[in-house]
Amino acid sequence: MGRTRVWSVSLVAACFLLGACSNQSSTKKEEDENTITITYRSGGGANAGLTDWLNQEVIPEFEKQNKGANIELSPLNVSEGDYFAKIALMLKSKNTAPDIVTEDTFMVNSDASAGYLEPLDDKIKNWDDWSNFTENVKQGVMAQDGKIYGVPYNTDSRGIWYNKELFKEAGIEVPWQPKSWEDILTAAQAIKTKFGKDVTPLWMNSGKATGEATSMQTFEMLLYGTEDPLYDQESKKWIVKSEGLLNTFQFIDDVYEKGLGANLSQVLNGQGSTVAYQQLLPKGKLAMGIDGIWQTGNWREDGPAPWKEAFDVLGFAPMPTENGQGTGNVTMSGGWAFSIPKNGDDKDLAWKFIQFASSKEKNLSLLLKDRSLTPRDDVAKDPTYQEIPMFKEATEFLQNAQFRPAVDKYPNVSTIIQTLVEDVATNKLTPEQAADQYKANVTKLVGEDLVIER
């Protein structure tokens, strides 16, 4: 009697367990039919445009055109640094992978090498529209194996935002055209002398928490204005010791040492950039900021921090090279792309959606909201596009654009950079120590045979 009871209890329990599992998976399958999920980063002010565009425009229209199709959004409201770790974890498994994921182009190569993304070459072959995409933007979504892993939906350029009114008051001539790093420091010093503690002279993303923004908007904008880039394309090796590296760290150190940078407790925060461009700059409490064109998305009428006068008050100056050498100015260019995860379950519908969302018309309306530059040649020629404030300047900067090395280890090198920039900004390391650590850490990461010194 006892034994039968035990057996029957465990049998019933087992049935429940198994039943629960199978039930769940079968209902999920049914729902999944014709449903695709899109994962993107919704955190940060600049991504509000993308969210609006998806929700208000693209998804309703796509669902209307394709009866039965159902698009679900699963945004990640996280800091930029966390986003890539989160999607890497999601893409690893069939159970969590979305059908479309937005990738910053610098991660495309890395995630493709990890086997997370689906090569799109076969699909692109039969897609005429692809020829309208700008050639060098296409490079950004090509991995080391030469295959395409994403369709870019925006690209960007960076420069120095500055407040003309504050500049005039401090006695600096506008439009301001800095010719060297020294000019930036001089202007910042003038602002500091004039306004003291009320105005932050220069905002540079300098923390680990701001992730890629620290590497690209601060470190690389400076470094690529020297003679020495991050990576030597010819020998395919990382440059781990150069004057450029040292001078870059030195500039960052100067800014904070002389009290020209932002309050560390603000700038090291993951929300730093939001504070700078949604609060400080519109309130006239920030004079200069090195950042991207997309920040204008904050100030559009239905944006997170509407600011009508923005384009009368603000100027967007090109970033000078170190001593004005070479072309005189430089910008880093990146951008984001739609990719299809290898573990996604409805790749055809996902591709259909990407095609739909990447059309000339849709791309233009995205950029009106998102305020990034277009990856398409035909959109760039459109009058509506050219009238977007500051886009003329931002597009001109692209003539001297530099791109991040599209190699496997770049994301890891980037986190090394972020840590060291924060250490220099907080005075934990001197510029020399930071340069030494850079050499040591990158060498350890990529191996001694893949580095060179200059």
């Binding site: 890497a88 990890a114 309050n263």
Partner: protein, 304 residues
Amino acid sequence: MKTELIPLAPKHKKIKRNNKFQGSFLFLLPSWLLLFIFFVGPIALTFYFAFTNLALTGSEAQSIKFVGFQNFVTMFEDPNFKISLINTIIFLIFSAVVGQQVLGFILALLMKEKNKSFRRIIGIIVIAGWVTPEIVVAFCWVAFLSDNGTLNTILNALGLESITWLYSFPMVSVIIANIWHGTAFSMLVFQASLDDVPKSIEEAAKIDGATRIQTLLKIVLPMVKGSIVTNMILVTLQTLGVFTLIFAMTGGGPGTSTQTLPIFMYNQAFVNYQLGYGTAISLILLVIGIIASLIYMRSMKANV
């Protein structure tokens, strides 16, 4: 008849015991299985991954390779590991061993033999800190210490200048927050053991002319030694693993000034995408916990 029955009895019992064994085995099986799948399994995997180059992204994510002690070599050469280790020890000693324990003991001592409603009110206030989830504690303290936080507002009202607490004194800030959060636990443990010290012994000491401090040091403390060790071990293990509080308050920064081992592990695994390396750090964390517990038990010569 009688002679036949006697040998039968033990045999019958044996069958029953066997039956009971089978039954209990069967009932324990689910929990054993769960333990194996969710506890032993992950630990074994941790050991394995710690010796691989497992990565979150990049080509290594596809091809896991056994790299021997490479992760540990890298770790011991990494200046950040040393910094994190020192930070962990500072955080551990000041927030747990000294802060929570001493404060908890003093609170328990002061509350001993006080009137009931007083004990209850103070108890609730202190325990409120303990029952509050770690992330909420972190937010409370960030709200209190941040640039425009409560403390700076008070300072400004008094005509003093604001201080960026979380950036100028990051370690002190997280230590205070952790003391606030964890003291109640030590207080509860000590309250229970202090109540067990017989009143008559204390009175006898008093009659013999011992001062209050002598009574405390020579009589009360040795009597609660056992619970001190237990508490020390529990508090140490809890504090070694503190991640949420520090991560939410300072993110391990500024720079590396509050980067303890759990934060360092997180950074390596999920920010630098080196899962294998992160796992190796977690193993070291485990070893530190074991060593600390052994040291406590030895030094107090208590059997816990």
